[in-house]
Structures are given as C-alpha cells and as structure tokens.
C-alpha cells in the first residue's frame, strides 16, 4: 500500500523510513512560523528564556516571525509589542517580515512554502501553504514545543481525499468551492485529519484560488490541507524555496480515510450566514438583504484574482452612498501588482477605501461594526463579534459578491455585472 503526501513528509521530518496514519512520531519542522500577538509570541519569548534557559535559538534560519496584526500600531502598547518582537528577532538572528502583508500569504511569497516541507505555526490558516505541497499545521500554544526543542510530537493524521471535477463559471470562485465543501461534507468531516485536494478541476483552479481553499481547511475540522503540487505550483514555489527538498506526492494506492467526489459544474455563488462558518446557503435565497459594509481582503481572499473581479464589477460604477467598502490586498507584492494593472485606481475611483495589507480588518480591530450593522466579507470567519459588536452580522462570500453588494447596498448577484 502506498503513502499519502502527508505520511511521506512526516516520515522524512521524523527521520524514519516510513510512517503510517496513527503513528506517533517526533518530527523536526523545517520551518517554525509565528506572527506577533499579545499572549502568544511575547509569552513564548519569555518562557524560552525563563523556563528553558534558551537565550538564542539554534538554527535561526528555521524560524520566521511576521508582524501583520496591529499594523499600523494605534497605541503605544501595540508598538511596544512590535519592539519586543523586533529585538527578539535581531538577538536571535531570526528573519522578520514586517509590513509585507498577511504572514500566511507572505510565507509563500518568501519561500517558506517549500514543496515537501513540514511547517508549524500557532495559527491554523497557515494550512494554505498546502497549495504548494507543504504540510503546514497550526498547533496553537503547542507550537511552543517547536520553539524550545528541535522536534514536536505529532500523531500522523489520516487523510480525507476530495476529488474536484467540473469547471467554475464566471462569478463563482474558489471561496464558493470551499464553502460548498463544508456544506457537502460537513463541518466535522475531516476532524483531526488532512484535507487533500485533487481531481481534474485542479488544472482550472488558480493557485490563488487554491490558497483560499487550503487556507480555510480548519472549518471542515481538518488540521491542515494539502495538494499534490502540479507544474504551475512548483514553478511558483521552487525558485523561492528556502530549502532544497525533493517535492513528494501521494502514491496512487495511498490509503484515504474517506474519498469525496465533488462536481463544480453548476455551482452558484454561496453565502455563509452568521454565526458560524458551517452555515453555507445559496446566495440566491438572500438577495436583497440590506448590507452596510463590505470587506475584501484577509489571508483567505484579497489576492489578485479577487481584486480583479471586484475591479471588473466596479469599473465605471460607484459604491452606494453610505456603504463602506474596505479593500485590503493580502500582501504588498499583491498590492503593487494590482497597482501596475490599474486595479487600485479603478477601485478607488469607484469609492472603495483601499488600504495597505494588515490582518486587522479581519479580526475586527479596524472598521468595527456597531449593533445591528451587517457586513459582507471575504474574511475567514463570521462568528458573533468577529468584526465589532456581538450584535452585528457577518455574511461570508466571494469577492465578486462583495463588489456587487457595495454597488447596491444589499446582497446582489455579481453575475449581472460581469
């Protein structure tokens, strides 16, 4: 019986000839990533010194820190946290990426999405590196283990395989695919397992779209998502890769805990209604619902294809008076490319508020809503209070739906504008 890509990556990282789902191993992460956040990195840095006597990390090239939350700082206390992070990185000679964009995206841009690598983070959305055949797992506080010793204990996860077939029609995006998966398979379908995405539709899905799908994997219960990288994804990742590794792929006879075949033909834009990411509905059932604000951005969406479709819809049109549209490209690299394409000027002329990359719109530090307000959002989550008052509401959808809602001030089908 063959091995899954996940079993192969963990076997190599653990230095064993083969690993099977269910084995408990000690595996050495190729990269240990984190963003600075109060109660996380500051606590690790202190604990490393005081509890474990670690003044300097060994192999600093295995670590990277991102400053992407609280950017720009709005209080002296926030800036103090960043100062602590900068000085820890300097003392430890650990690469720091500040004001480059949302870390999970930047990680791919600067080479941590090394095909075949094992990566850990505390945040689960790092799963999007799986697009490039990287096994990236969010361990929550347990990532401290990776900061204080070489290896982390891990139980090799089982894999759920999803074969996507068919093709998306204009106005239907990767975002819809992911939420359709949650609707079809269920929010606990991949609990403690890896979501492996494959099938003939992968050829037609963009790399950016796949980053959206893999990045949201946790809402199927998965601990991460992964793809056997094709030529295009390797062409992106290999020249940037920080480590020389042989890309690995699942064997044709690998064992899967479950296999789902999902046809994308005929898929319509979907809407995820509050208060949980498990509530996928058809957009068509909610058309006309009044909306006050829109957010296009986050580590899940906010890449070039999202900005392109929003610009296409908004070109020559105006955001409805009183509607607050925030467009936040996911990274500086993306923002610069969008500028060169003219997308930024189209969006600005239409009345969008366009701002530099930051995680802060997604977790409600910026542009928070008050009671009874309603948002359409390409952010990661729609739980109560995520973007302000617990009595506000977040409807998750694709970037095209955000743009259409911005024009009408209500939920609208973007396809009539395409």
């Amino acid at each position: 019986m063959g091995y899954t890509i996940t079993e192969k990556i963990l076997a190599r990282a653990a230095g064993v000839p083969g690993a099977r789902a269910g084995d408990e191993l000690m595996a050495k992460p190729d990269f240990v990533l984190a963003y600075d956040f109060p109660g996380y990195t500051d606590v690790y840095f202190k604990s490393m010194k005081e509890d474990f006597g670690i003044d300097r990390v060994a192999e600093p090239e295995r670590f990277a820190i991102f400053i992407d939350h609280m950017v720009p700082a709005t209080t002296p206390k926030e800036e103090e946290l960043h100062i602590g992070t900068r000085s820890w990185c300097k003392e430890n000679n650990v690469p720091l990426f500040e004001r480059k964009g949302i870390g999970h995206q930047v990680a791919a841009e600067v080479g941590y999405a090394t095909p075949g690598a094992f990566v850990v983070h505390f945040d689960g959305h790092i799963s999007q590196l799986g697009t490039f055949g990287t096994l990236a797992i969010g361990m929550r506080r347990n990532v401290l283990e990776a900061f204080v010793r070489e290896k982390v204990s891990i139980k090799v996860p089982h894999t759920v395989r999803v074969n996507l077939s068919g093709e998306l029609t204009p106005g239907v995006m990767a975002r819809d695919v992911f939420h359709h998966l949650v609707r079809t398979m269920g929010p606990s379908s991949c609990r403690f397992q890896v979501l492996e995405i494959g099938g003939p539709a992968l050829k037609t899905l963009s790399t950016e779209g796949l980053q959206t799908i893999t990045g949201l994997a946790m809402f199927t219960g998965a601990i991460t998502a992964i793809v056997n990288p094709d030529e295009d994804r390797l062409a992106y990742a290999l020249p940037r890769a920080r480590k020389q590794l042989e890309p690995v792929f699942s064997d044709p006879d690998a064992h899967y805990a479950a296999v789902y075949d999902i046809d994308l033909n005929g898929l319509e834009p979907v809407l995820v209604i509050p208060p949980t990411p498990s509530n996928t509905r058809n957009l068509s059932d909610y058309l006309g619902l009044e909306i006050n604000t829109g957010y296009l951005g986050s580590c899940a969406s906010g890449r070039l294809e999202d900005l392109r479709i929003a610009a296409q819809i908004l070109q020559g049109r105006q955001v409805k008076e009183g509607f607050m549209l925030n467009v936040i490209p996911t990274s500086q690299e993306i923002m610069a490319a969008a500028g060169r394409e003219g997308l930024i000027s189209i969006l600005a002329e239409a009345g969008a508020f366009v701002s530099s990359p930051s995680c802060d719109y997604c977790f409600g530090r910026i542009a928070t809503m008050t009671d009874k307000q309603r948002a359409v959002s390409t952010g990661t989550l729609n739980v109560r209070g995520r973007m302000g008052s617990p009595d506000s509401e977040i409807y998750l959808c694709n970037a095209a739906v955000v743009a259409a809602a911005a024009i009408e001030g209500q939920l609208a089908d973007p396809r009539k504008y395409l």
Partner: protein
C-alpha cells in the same frame, strides 16, 4: 504517574453540534482577563444558577465537534475557576482540543455520551479501564484512547510543565 480519574456530576450538557465555546462567556466578555469577572459572566445565558450550583469535580458534556470555530481560552478558564475538571463530548474540534489539553485540562472523546448521561448524574472517567461510567444509572461506555503525547501532557499538568519535564534547560544541556 497515571492520570487521576475524574469523578463528579454532569454540570451541564451542551447539546448543540459544532458548539462555539466562546458563547459560554459571551463574545462581549471574551477579552476580560480578571478571572472572577469571567467566572461571573460564564453560563449566564444558559443557566443563571450555574455558578451557585456547580461543585468542584463537576464535568461538562458536549455534542459532536465541540469547540468548532475560533475558540478562545477565557471560557474554559472560567469553567476551571468554577471547579469544572474536564469535558466529555461526542467528538471535538482539533483546535479547541489542542488548546485545552495544552492547558492540562482533560478532554474525553466519547461517542454516545449524550445517550449515557443526564444533567446532574454522578459520573466517572476511568482512564485505565478506558470507560466513562454513569454511577447514578450503573451504565458505562468506552471512550477513545488518548494519544500518548496528549496523555503525557495531561499527566504533567499542561504544556509548559510537560516540556520542562522532557526538555533539559539549555544551560544544562551544554554540560553533557
């Protein structure tokens, strides 16, 4: 050192699938750091009498995929402060599970638990026998064994003591 069995009453049963634990204290209270304030906010929308009825040793019971979403730490901090010693659920969401096990807070995955217990039944989690016993009704159900890593972390009392036990101080390491 084996894990000590949990024994207490079922203080509450969350019957909702994919339960978002943030609701225990309410999202508007999630940033409270004072433990007494947090505990006072806990469960008020489910059972206003909860804090006065709960006793040290009591246990919570949940449905499938317990802890789904982006779970935060304050709700279960509040629960531990009120004396809750563990959670038994039909199944758990991985992020929540990892987070609470790293706090040294026992989580027991026991398919069928909702049919085994009613609120205020006296129950026991017998780690060695691998069963949850309903002492009130005289019934029992097997639970899913812990991964060795999780078991060691719970035995140690959480992530930091676990790592301390298994990782020498760097200064000491140099002496070898």
């Amino acid at each position: 050192m084996p894990l000590k069995n949990l024994r207490g009453r079922v203080a509450f049963i969350f019957t909702e699938e994919d339960f978002d634990v943030d609701q225990i204290v309410g999202v508007k209270n999630i940033k409270i750091t004072d433990i007494n304030e947090l505990a006072a906010a806990a469960m008020t929308s489910y059972d206003p009498e909860f804090a006065t009825q709960v006793k040290p040793g009591d246990i919570l019971v949940g449905a499938g995929n317990f802890g789904y979403g982006h779970p935060h730490y304050p709700p279960m901090r509040a629960m531990r402060h009120l004396g809750i010693t563990g959670v038994i659920a039909e199944s758990f969401s991985p992020g929540y599970w990892r987070g609470e096990v790293s706090m040294g807070f026992p989580q027991v995955s026991c398919p069928g638990i909702l049919t085994l217990v009613e609120r205020w039944d006296e129950i026991e989690v017998d780690w060695e026998a691998g069963v949850v016993r309903n002492l009130t009704k005289g019934t029992e159900l097997p639970f899913e064994p812990l991964a060795a890593g999780d078991e060691q972390m719970l035995e140690a009392g959480g992530l930091v003591p676990y790592l301390k036990r298994t990782t020498p101080m760097q200064g000491e390491r140099k002496d070898h």
